[in-house]
């Protein structure tokens, strides 16, 4: 099987803007004096608080959980005292309950944080329970509870595992740096997943604009013939999971399907590393690597940030704003959300914090569609973004559905490439919401 220059049809070359932090080693962020830990940082049901005002908590202590199947617990990232529960906007712009903890600066570890034993001795069920208890949800931005993905993939008898290190979003380096600095952790996590799923062969897939990550993984894997490094052509949205599965295995996830429908399991590199941490150190997911970058911040960095740290705290330790900030994005610039307050806490899913300057954030002038076809050529799902957009703007959602609006993965490629600067992704996202709402009501 070929393992380099893998790719998919469609997509676009995007200026990668990764130079801000490409060579910045991961640093531990300054200790926050206060954290606000959202009770929902994942897809699924929100957690209920397990602590109340006045309670003392320690690092790694479970402070929220839910009985719902589709949910994962949340943990404290500091030791200290719970001083309240506050409603705040999370990075997705939803108002969620957050447990506010004042840190005592001691970072005392909770008793539950201890090694969970040898991987060889653990049963599948035990692995699943450890993963759930550690609160692991997809860290590439999707936030899907990992234990659910694991168990449904086991049922679907997947035969291939792909660990996603493509990091195709511009600006971001968190996965890249992590693969360079801790390849063995990613590999260990991959082995856990292989053991759980009973799969013999897996791939760590990396875009070829990250040669250092590829070589350090290869070096760490030189005595391991079960895990292979697959190098992908740098092209957006290579990291989108269906495009990734297509590039690596040639399998095409059917419309409305999941990667398990083509017997493939995909998760992000940091998620795999979190699985390793949960087993080897017993450490739940309460901190993550985040790229803080952009022209709007003075000292771009790759920081290991505790969940619940406010964006304000982070900007401050990156030297503050560089001029007046125009836009702050949580995640990548192609698919991320904009923030409107610096109170927003960092969650398990935040891959990057990008500060754009006022000029960069200024809205672009939209001109009439010239029918150049670039959006059609580039759409990785093979849609006609220009048509769906026009239908959406005319409120013709049934017709938009007929043009497969629901299959859009909101990758942003069409809007990016459009020379007329039309808001294609945005209009299609709107159509999707309307179609879904209508389905619900009928």
């Amino acid at each position: 099987m070929r393992l380099d220059n893998l790719t998919f049809k469609g997509g676009v070359l995007v200026k990668d803007r990764k130079d801000f932090t490409r060579d910045k080693a991961i640093e531990k962020a300054a200790e926050p004096s206060i954290v606000r830990i959202p009770l929902q940082q994942h897809v699924g049901a929100p957690c209920k608080a397990l602590v109340k005002k006045g309670d003392k908590v320690k690092v790694g202590q479970k402070i929220g959980d839910s009985e719902a199947t589709l949910s994962v617990p949340v943990h404290s990232s500091v030791s200290g005292e719970v001083i309240g529960i506050e409603k705040l906007y999370n990075p997705e712009g939803l108002r969620v309950d957050c447990i506010v903890i004042e840190s005592d600066g001691l970072n005392e570890m909770h008793e539950s944080v201890e090694p969970k034993g040898n991987l060889e001795d653990l049963t599948g069920e035990e692995i699943l329970a450890i993963v759930r208890e550690a609160g692991i949800a997809g860290m590439g931005g999707a936030g899907f509870p990992l234990h659910i993905k694991l168990s449904t993939s086991l049922e679907a008898e997947v035969d291939t595992i792909i660990i996603n290190g493509s990091e195709c979003e511009p600006y971001l380096n968190s996965d890249d740096r992590y693969m360079q600095e801790c390849p063995e952790k990613v590999i260990y996590g991959t082995q856990v997943i292989m053991k759980y799923l009973g799969v013999d062969e897996s791939y760590i897939a990396v875009e070829d604009n990250k040669p250092n990550a590829i070589s350090s993984l290869k070096e760490a894997l030189k005595d391991n013939d079960k895990i292979k490094v697959a190098s992908l052509k740098t092209k957006f949205p290579q990291g989108e999971s269906y495009r990734l599965v297509d590039a690596v295995t040639g399998r095409k996830v059917p419309q409305g399907g999941r990667t398990k429908d083509v017997k493939t399991f995909v998760t992000n590199v940091l998620t795999a590393a979190a699985v390793r941490d949960a087993i080897v150190e017993g450490k739940p997911l309460y901190e993550r690597v985040v790229t803080v970058t952009g022209n709007g911040v003075k000292e771009p960095k790759n920081l290991l940030i505790k969940v619940g740290t406010s964006v304000a705290d982070i900007i401050e330790q990156c030297g503050g704003f560089n001029g007046t900030p125009g836009k702050i994005i949580a995640g990548g610039p192609m698919t991320g959300n904009t923030l409107f307050t610096l109170d927003t806490p960092v969650t398990k899913e935040v891959t990057g914090i990008i500060v754009l300057t006022e000029e960069e954030a200024a809205p672009v002038k939209t001109t009439p569609c010239i029918k150049c076809g670039k959006c059609v050529e580039a759409c990785p799902v093979y849609l006609m973004p220009n048509v769906i957009q026009a239908l959406s703007l005319k409120d013709r959602y049934d017709d938009a559905e007929e043009y497969n609006a629901l299959s859009c993965v909101k990758c942003g490629t069409c809007s990016y490439i459009c020379p007329a600067k039309r808001p294609l992704t945005e209009a299609i996202a709107h159509a999707k919401r309307e179609i879904r709402a209508k389905r619900k009501n009928s």
């Binding site: 095409k252 419309q255 836009k327 702050i328 904009t338 076809g373 945005e426």
Partner: protein, 323 residues
Amino acid sequence: MEGKVKDPNRDKVVLDKPLTMSLAPHIRSCDTTRRLMLDVIIAMVPAIIGSVYFYGLQALVLILTSVASAVVAEALIQKLFKKDIQIGDLSAVVTGILLAFNLPANAPWWIAVFGSAFAIIIVKEFFGGIGSNFMNPALAARAALVASWPSIMATYINPDGITSATPLAVMKGGAGVESLPSLTRMFIGDIGGSLGETSALLLLIGAAYLLIRQVINWRIPVFYIGTTAIMLLLLGVSGDLIIYQILGGGLILGAFFMATDYSTTPITPLGKIVFAIGCGVLTALIRVKGGMPEGVSYSILLMNIMTPIIERFTRPRVFGGAK
């Protein structure tokens, strides 16, 4: 719910102005309509210089007149329709140059004025302006000119200034290779024909630029020219004449610069191929069976009209197909 908890840390980093909120994506490519049109203009510069070299200053006067009238016509009609004045997108300049390219070099200046105004006002703006017109403005205007002033539009001069038959007309008359100009002359463009169509060499230099800049896609020109050649053979044109057929008329200009027009050709990748094959078949049919020696512009116009139907039947199949 309890109230806001005081944070000693807060207010160190503050916002003076509200942040911009928007949906993703937050970055855009640097391509704009204007940039694309500018690229097309750049790609036509070699052929413009060539036309002045072959036909003298009268060619330049014709091109400038045509461009100026196209731009003025667009500004005026947009003002009249109370639309935004969009001459800054340079599409009128492209139309002006293309129209001039389709005129005989010795055509009077007012032909260019009339043609450009017709192209912009009737063909483009009446149908909604850039991106909405369904026929190629320059070609439709050319057809109107041919219908109104047939003799002016059919009198071609050679670069030496002498009125003569074009190579296509010579072939139409049944003559063989011996009565045609040499291949080198045909490739360089030292032959009779309309102002901008004769030099395959200069047009191809521009076309290469457009392909590299990804302004146009290879599908239409390749399938168009390929189909034309195959159809000519099938219709009994002898093999040694095919290359003369490709270089002799407006095929290179048409295939790379007019059949690739955005708004009047299918947007779907498969549709582009269907469109190009249609153009090729029609061009060969008109050249061999029709009453005229040349068929490029009518073929493209006919296929322009077919475009909506082609698009409907060539919608891309969504990734992964049905579940």
